[in-house]
Amino acid sequence: MYKVLRFFITRVNFFSFLILEIIAIALIINNNPYQSSAYFNSSNTYIARMLYLSNQLREYLNLRDINKELSEENTKLRYLLRKYSEQTNLIYSPKDSTMITKYTFIPAKVINTSTSNFHNYITINKGMADSVKPGMAVINTLGVVGKVKSCSEHFATISSMLHKEIMVSSKHKKSGNVCTVKWDGKDPFTASLLYLPRHILLQKGDTILTSGYNAVFPEGEPIGTVSYFDVKPYESFYQAEIKYFVDFYSLNYVYVIKNKFLSEQDSLETNTKNILK
């Protein structure tokens, strides 16, 4: 016992140093979040390394099962890829942020179309179940397609732009002047442009857009380009023709546009008309 005590007493300097240092280190690790986190992190690193090593070994032993799993997953992904690549045409990005809030787009597939009649209709695979209603506008990525005429539970009929009764309020893109597009029943690629005043400088290739003056079509949807124009000396409007952007022979996917404020705008306009009468 005496020897033990002597051992400590002769080395009292060193042991006092050791005790004080141990206290200091304990204080560091207990009180400083940075040091303690570093301590736990570095100790964790070794554990993580060990886990990684054992995982590698197991992986090597189970290669057959892993291969099988991967090929199964591949098949599944392939299927999904095909499925989604069919749907990618449906993705539409509206240019205007207000359009996003005001208009919602319902993607649909065209299942029937005609171009050779005076009144051409398109049938799509979305109906009342998908909240498609008569009067809604239909477009595709190129431009305006038509207006919903009637719908059943799962299908809808669209009066296409190749319909003699349909007139679309439109505007000349450069000048902003309002005009009307109407199909004259002959060529499925061209329509006549009505009521464009003669004082406007019109050129071939000028773009015609929807005006947004009725509640059906959003403003600025492309319709076509001017392909021919003439002005008679005694007329106040141009005689002009436009070429549709949309090819009605090869319609595939279209979007039905749902206007949130359609009924509001319509009722307001009819009320105003009634008052003026």
């Binding site: 300097n13 200091a24 280190i25 204080l27 301590y39």
Partner: protein, 177 residues
Amino acid sequence: MKPLEIINAIFQFIIFLVLQIFWARYFVFYDVAFCFVYLTFILTLPVSMPIPLYLLFSFITAMFIDMAYDMIGVHIAATVLTAYLRSYIIAFLTPLGGYPDNMQPTIQSNGFQWFATYVFILTTLHHAALFFLEAFGFSHIGWTLAKIFCSALFTSFIITAIQYIFFTPFRTSGRKR
């Protein structure tokens, strides 16, 4: 230790603590050179002091510094290490003719050159322990080494200057050679 030495030590303890906490703490150059002027007190305590008591003294001093710097333990560990190594460094720096009797680790007792070397070695040790404990690893080793070197230079310059300015003129006669 004589009673006068004890009073002197307590007086210096308070002075350097106040200096460190209220002045040297804000004295940082380019984020690398720190000034730990409280080491003056630790380094100039009489050699005749019993080592455990000396270690306890440095422990208490560093504890106050740690409280001020808000990093409990780091200064304590570094300062206690420095204090423990001091006797070895003094033995290592023994001049050719040996130390005079009643040697004090001050400029008056051992001259400027000895004191500067002594201070530089011990501050470097102290700062090495301090900054490596603060970083707690070797991930920013270049930055840590830069901090250690610059702070050691800066601190030893300040400590030597303080010794030179405030403690030389008095007891030149006390130097026995």
